[in-house]
């Protein structure tokens, strides 16, 4: 369920179809996910999951899969159905 929310964050803030939001989708690999889009994604993830990312996390958030890992470390559960 949280995975769906996460994919929805990327899809809505970057303005791309949700099918394109896969774990290996990477920062700067598509036109929509540039540095401006990146900060928008971060803001949306923070408000959706009520967390605050470190600056280092923001810099390391290089793919959707890495976003999952970072959020998991901040206590977000991605294993529940």
């Amino acid at each position: 369920m949280n995975k769906d929310k996460l994919r929805s964050c990327f899809s809505q803030t970057l303005g791309i179809p949700i099918e394109r939001v896969t774990d290996d989708l990477a920062y700067n690999s598509i036109e929509e996910w540039d540095s401006v889009g990146h900060m928008a994604v971060v803001a949306d993830l923070e408000s959706t999951f009520d967390v605050m990312l470190d600056t280092d996390d923001i810099l390391n958030l290089g793919s959707v899969g890495q976003a999952v890992a970072i959020l998991r470390r901040l206590g977000v559960d991605f294993d529940a159905a």
Partner: protein
Amino acid sequence: MLLEDRVALITGASRGIGRAIATTFAEQGARVVITSRSPELDETAALIRERGGRATAVRGDLRDDGFPRELITRCKKEHGRIDVLVNNAGVLLSGLLGMISIESLRETFETNTLATIHLTQYAVRLMDSGRNPSIVNVASIAGTRGLDGVTGYAASKGAVVAFTRSSAKELAPKGIRVNAVAPGIIDTAMTRGLTEDVRRRRTAAIALGRMGTPQEVANVALFLASSLASYVTGQVLGVDGGMVA
């Protein structure tokens, strides 16, 4: 009131200019979150509450890894947003060239410059462009015009001036204004650390013939933080009584 229903985060609020800014903002209706590494911070909070204001005091050192994030998280949990950030925390480094240790230079830049930039990065994420958000940095006349005997400090504050002007440009599309006050010689614990000779010489260079008060700096910070300055960004406003040398 000029800051009704605003949430303001003020660093270095335990004394001097920071305390004056915190109490002034609270009197003008702001809910203030104040921070400092000094225990005197609680006195500032008590002063605000005595006068009917609302204050949250968060002790910590902005140079510590993790503290800026902790501070901003606290703002988010308690208020959900930040409308005004005042980067005031600073240390004065005196010393003639040739006699400035690298350790003291590091401490000065870490506190005056790096912490300002680092905290700003976090705070803007809680700013809502629809609420006329504002950042006020506390620079110094040393950083804008140069001052002998405090060159390391001057350089750290000069960087704050450059950061103010640059971040004003970068954050304008988000509706965030960024300005700075550049105090001259203000009667605080920081300047009381100067030798009597230096204080006399500095005061002699002030057109108004006296040192400024923390309140006089706070009043200008209030203007820049409020909607009175809604069309003002990227400015560095001297509060120096017309310092001529």
